[in-house]
């Protein structure tokens, strides 16, 4: 099965069949990894570039490993690289990469829509590794993979996403993916960090963390950029933690088997207390492991030609 669109810029508009297919393939990839297979031939004629205009350790490394395990030739361009520093436009950078025969560009950019803009203008396939406040589809895919693996399903799950929703591309991608897969999503955060009219997507919005977490199957925290306080969006980190921090009191309201998730890196004691991060129901480190498998699956699917598919 192929993905319908050339690029993966977000999960908005991606069908349930496509998501299920990626998650199924990720399962096979994870099986290989667990057997210790770290050198596979599927992508050995493929050339992949990570084009990161923002710092990233986790996502970039995860993609790098995914590509390498499948035998792709991986190269990296960072924002500090010379042509970007010299003021080369995104379009010119993209066209230069294309001229070198790159198959897939994995891109992170601080501005929303940049991967979609680039993808529209070049023939190489673009995977969004996070754009501004828009989407981070592979993070949501690995989150959904983790939920499905641990809880056996996505449909009907009650997922509470808590924190800075406004600036979060992780929240937006999860919202779209989870809605498509039939989960119930509740968003919770301060009014200053809640996107307007987001409830029109069919999610619930609450400002009360207790209401959000009540009977939840999944409690997902989001990273709070500490500079939000300085820009006038929050009175103090202390009050943020008091009103919106996930702690053991709040967690009691969730279902007994509820998963604790976070895309990382975590501000301990701000959006989540330490005992929650290290809780036995926390799957934060497994999210990282699953990220490699999900990205392997995606790279595999996106490099197949139609005739390759049996």
């Amino acid at each position: 099965m192929q993905l319908i669109n050339k690029d993966l810029v977000g999960l908005e508009g991606v069908s349930a069949e496509e998501i299920a297919h990626i998650l199924d393939s990720a399962k096979s990839m994870k099986d290989y990894l667990q057997q210790g297979v770290k050198k596979m031939p599927q992508l050995q004629n493929k050339s992949i570039v990570t084009l990161f205009y923002e710092n990233s350790t986790r996502t970039k490394m995860s993609f790098d490993l995914a590509g390498k395990y499948l035998g792709a030739s991986m190269s990296a361009i960072a924002a500090s690289s010379s042509s970007i520093q010299k003021g080369e436009t995104l379009l010119d950078t993209g066209r230069t990469l294309e001229a070198r025969g790159i198959d897939i560009i994995i891109m992170r950019h601080p501005m929303s829509g940049a991967p979609e803009f680039l993808g529209r203008n070049i023939s190489a396939r673009v995977i969004n590794a996070g754009d501004g406040m828009h989407e981070h589809p592979t993070q949501a895919l690995l989150d959904m993979y983790t939920m499905q693996e641990k809880l056996g399903r996505l449909a009907g799950l009650k997922v509470a996403i808590i924190g800075d929703i406004l600036h979060s591309r992780v929240a937006r991608s999860n919202l779209h993916g989870l809605k498509t897969m039939g989960a119930d999503v509740t968003l919770c955060g301060p009014g200053t960090l809640m996107p307007v009219e987001i409830e029109k997507t069919g999610v619930k919005v609450t400002y009360d963390i207790r209401e959000a977490v009540k009977d939840a199957d999944v409690v997902m925290g989001l990273r709070l950029q500490l500079e939000r306080q300085k820009s006038g969006l929050l009175p103090s980190l202390r009050e943020y933690n008091e009103l919106f921090g996930v702690n053991s009191e709040v967690l009691k309201l969730a279902k007994p088997h509820a998963l604790i998730m976070h895309p990382g890196p975590v501000n301990r004691g701000v959006e989540m207390d330490t005992d929650i991060i290290d809780h036995d129901r926390s799957v934060i480190t497994e999210q990282v492991t699953n990220g490699v498998a999900v990205r392997m699956a995606l790279l595999y699917i996106m490099t197949r030609k139609k005739e390759d598919i049996v």
């Binding site: 436009t89 995104l90 379009l91 929303s112 829509g113």
Partner: protein
Amino acid sequence: MILIKSGKIADAEKTYTADILIENGKIKQIGENLSAKGAEEIDAEGLTIIPGMIDMHCHLREPGQEYKEDILSGSKAAVKGGFTSIVCMPNTDPVIDNAGLIAYVQERAKKVGLCKIYPTGAITTGLGGTQLTEMGELKAAGAVAFTDDGKPVSSGKMMRNALNYAKCLDALLILHEEDLDLRADGVMNEGYYSSMLGLRGINRAAEESMIARDIALAESLKCRIHIAHVSTRGGFDMIKKAKARGVSVTCETMPHYFSADDSWVVGYDSNTKVNPPLRTKDDVAAAIEAIKDGTVDAIATDHAPHHVDEKDVEYDIALFGISGFESALSLMVTHLLPAGVSLNKIAELTSKNPAKILRIPGGSIAEGEPADLTIFDENEKYVFTKADMVSRGKNSPFIGRELVGKAKYTVVDGVIKYKES
């Protein structure tokens, strides 16, 4: 001599079919079965003739930003769009804040000689917001109004001074209404689509709060103001109520505010990036209501051409503005006529009212008047493409859209300045 045969003539008052005879730049005669030996004939059967359209809000970019547009390319685009007169904004480089630059624009316009160009002068020197320009001298040189367009006059105290000073010169202020602090780094309308796209939103209050401030100032100081590019229901409502109270306020809106909404930003086409931003479907409906009920006095383009390099970038860093001359009339025909706006109303908003507000010639089709005419086919359907744009700026969100209505001839002072080839 030009003889225009059998056109459907629509001015602000009435619609009728007649011939128009033009001599020495003026309309000599209007009647049936006119003939004139040696006259150049335009067969206008099936075509519609309205008083030459006056665009009271455009950016010609000269002096200083000729890579975006200049007075020649802008004039070509204007007459292609059916405009016989255009009013250019002073946010050039340098800013038109002295009489010398007014004279420069006038001279260049004369040399180009396509449409009539009326310059405006800045309210504050360099659009800096702190020092009034020499409005008396600028007005004497030919500035038809004053505006810091592109920027608001942020200081309420400064606006009060500007209004009181303009009043003593009987000068008109055209106001760009925007609270810059509230707009912050927003790039599109704040709403569902900004939330979905992850683009920073511009709350409507950034526009409406400044409209409210300036209506209150104009009311208390008994001054005349014209509000530029109104885009929200709340803005139209306030202006409507102010008019009912007798406040001397007029306003304009643009074709893109009644033709497109913020859902158009999906896909991140930076040609949809404009300031004020494309609003919601409800605001589009409000703009059409305000056109019908008399709240809107003028339809102008806010023609804002940019170089492709300034638009072919990430949405956040693309410049604000839509290149509007060539699509304006088509958008009016496409979206206003089916909504029940009459041709007479269109003539009023594109010609009679702008002439009255700015106290410049034009606005009617009558014997003895200057022969400024816009002749168009109100039924022609076509797909608007880059090839339809002669402006240097091809930044239009309407490229690729099917539109109805197209200018065929533009006559300025009795001379055919544009003829569709």
